[in-house]
Amino acid sequence: MARPDNVRYLESHEWGRLEKDGTVTIGITDFAVDQLNDLTFVDLPEVGDKVKKGEAFGEIESVKAVSDLISPVSGKIVAVHDDVDSDDFSALKKDAFGAGWLIKVKPDNPKELDSAKSAADYEKQLAEEAH
């Protein structure tokens, strides 16, 4: 499956997309959703909280695993996906890069996103990780 070109990717399987209004939408990739398999809980921050590039802003859990959610940018949270926050993962499973977003951030410096991977580089990483 081709992954969208208009988002940037982290090695830890989060993505970020700079929107027209200047905010950055953050989510996890379809690969991560697939890997975590049986999603059970997510722990997201609150609107108004600050996030830092490269640091965890929350956690996502499956029956037997838990992963930190890493932010690709620093900034202030302006929106949190309510359904996901109340552990409804249907949107996340259907459309990881669209309806399944997690948080929206007003970035301190939108350029920070540029240091994340392109779709092609991310695909390359996945190919290397598979054996």
Partner: protein, 466 residues
């Protein structure tokens, strides 16, 4: 060799299959200079192995150098109680290998026996406390209280993100064993344990408590019945903690009291922990038994320890499995709710058998029986010249404190009586005080003997009043 079934021929065949000449070759990664040689003088200095007959004799020899509660008219508790333990329990939990030789139920399909009894155990703890989520048990009451402290801290961190709360309040008379363990855990976690000493009546000093209840407190704990045997007003502690929004933890040393007293849920506490020894577990110098741990369901995901849930199998049949494993150390590692890996399953099984064998009515009768005997003992001992009740107006369940004279132990021992536990070291002004415990095992005759022996021991002694 004991318990090893490999014969010399087996070993030879196995070494051949592996492709090595000797077992030693399998240990090549241990540098030769560090390896112990069987023939060496530096070989382990342990005695030679003994057979079953010899070991039995040896153990009997050791036990000949001991006396136990059964050898005396015995009046001590202080956290471990001399209860009757039904033979049913040892038959199921000790002598049948089905539970005692199984491991943690990680594979639910071949562990339904264990998972079912843990679920039933959790249900019993819920029945006793009224709290909706109970875990599969912890090491003992002391570590359960310490875990409740850590959990209280985690809950506060989540609820009050902008506040720093580091104080844990122990209100009133606590078992010193529990206090010491809590302090050990608090020390390394950077938390402060504040003890509010009981008032003259042995109950929580409400004014002193109010003074320490600031927004620096993340949780307040109360032991009820407390270490002096007194039933505390837990509801009042809950009310007092409302303003600073601290969690309230009730700690129970004698769970039989839960048969009669207001439940922790009715009192409004957030977490209830306690010692399970009194529920069908032997004394064993204080362990193993188990700590129970129950909480309001809001705090489920912050709760430490194993939890079992009902669920279904692929064919829709009822089944049980471990639940919420991501809280635990094997998955969450340094962010786990606790480092605890196990529970005290076998001790929890004993409690389940104990509670079911007594049943709803029997358990209440057992508690009522205890109250009657305790009331009789209080009256009888207090009627001895030179003996009085230390807290005459405070209600007790199965333990109470008498004021007599110091150093009575030896005189009582000569009459095969282990009297109440001396409280000299427990706090100021407790010289000559003894904590007396009563169970269903205590007979009227023993209480009468105790009173008689006290009277004799005190003859001619000046009455001490502290």
């Amino acid at each position: 060799m004991p318990f090893i079934q490999n014969t010399d021929a087996d070993q030879k065949a196995m070494l051949a299959a592996i492709g090595v000449k000797s077992i030693d070759e399998l240990f090549v990664d241990i540098p030769a200079n560090l390896r112990l040689k069987m023939s060496d003088s530096n070989m382990l200095k342990l005695p030679p192995g003994k057979g079953e007959l010899e070991v039995t004799r040896h153990i009997q020899g050791l036990l000949a150098k001991t006396k136990n509660a059964g050898d005396y008219a015995f009046f001590r508790g202080g956290g471990i109680y001399n209860h009757f333990v039904s033979t049913l329990i040892d038959h199921i939990a000790l002598f049948d290998g089905s539970f005692i030789t199984a491991y943690t139920p990680y594979q639910p399909e071949c562990s339904q026996g264990t998972l079912t009894f843990i679920y039933e155990f959790q249900s019993c703890i819920t029945a006793l406390t009224g709290l909706e989520v109970a875990n599969a048990s912890m090491y003992d009451a002391a570590s359960a209280l310490a875990e409740a402290m850590m959990m209280g801290k985690h809950v506060a961190e989540d609820r009050f993100r902008k506040e720093t709360r580091n104080n844990f309040v122990l209100a009133g008379a606590f078992n010193p064993e529990y206090v010491q363990v809590c302090k050990t855990y608090a020390d390394v976690a950077g938390l402060k344990v504040i003890q509010v000493q009981p008032g003259a009546d042995g109950r929580i000093d409400k004014e002193a408590l109010a003074k320490v209840l600031t927004r620096k407190v993340f949780a307040v704990a109360v032991q009820s019945p407390n270490y002096l045997g007194i039933i505390e007003d837990v509801e009042a502690v809950v009310a007092a903690s409302k303003e600073c929004e601290a969690l309230v933890v009730q700690c129970v040393g004698e769970p039989l009291s839960l048969a009669l007293l207001q439940t922790p849920a009715e009192a409004g506490v957030d977490i209830c922990v306690g010692e399970g020894q009194a529920l069908g577990n032997h004394q064993f110098l204080g362990g193993p038994a188990f700590g129970f741990f129950a909480a309001k369901k809001d705090w489920l995901r912050k709760m430490p320890g194993r939890i079992v849930s009902e669920t279904k199998d692929r064919d829709g049949r009822r089944a049980f499995s471990l639940a919420l494993a991501t809280r635990e150390q094997h998955i969450r590692r340094e962010k786990a709710t606790s480092n605890i890996c196990t529970n005290q399953s076998l001790c929890a099984l004993r409690a389940l058998i104990h509670l079911s064998a007594w049943g709803k009515k029997g358990f209440v009768e057992l508690a009522e029986h205890t109250v009657s005997k305790t009331q009789y003992a209080m009256q009888k001992l207090a009627s001895v010249p030179g003996v009085s009740l230390a807290h005459p107006n405070s209600p007790v369940f199965n333990e109470f404190v008498i004021q007599a004279a110091p150093s009575l132990e030896k005189k009582l021992l000569k009459k095969r009586i282990v009297g109440g536990l001396p409280l000299d070291k427990y706090g100021k002004g407790r010289r000559g005080q003894y904590l007396v415990a009563i169970t269903e095992v205590t007979t009227k005759a023993e209480i009468d003997q105790y009173a008689e022996a006290l009277a004799e021991a005190l003859k001619g002694k000046p009455v001490t009043v502290s």
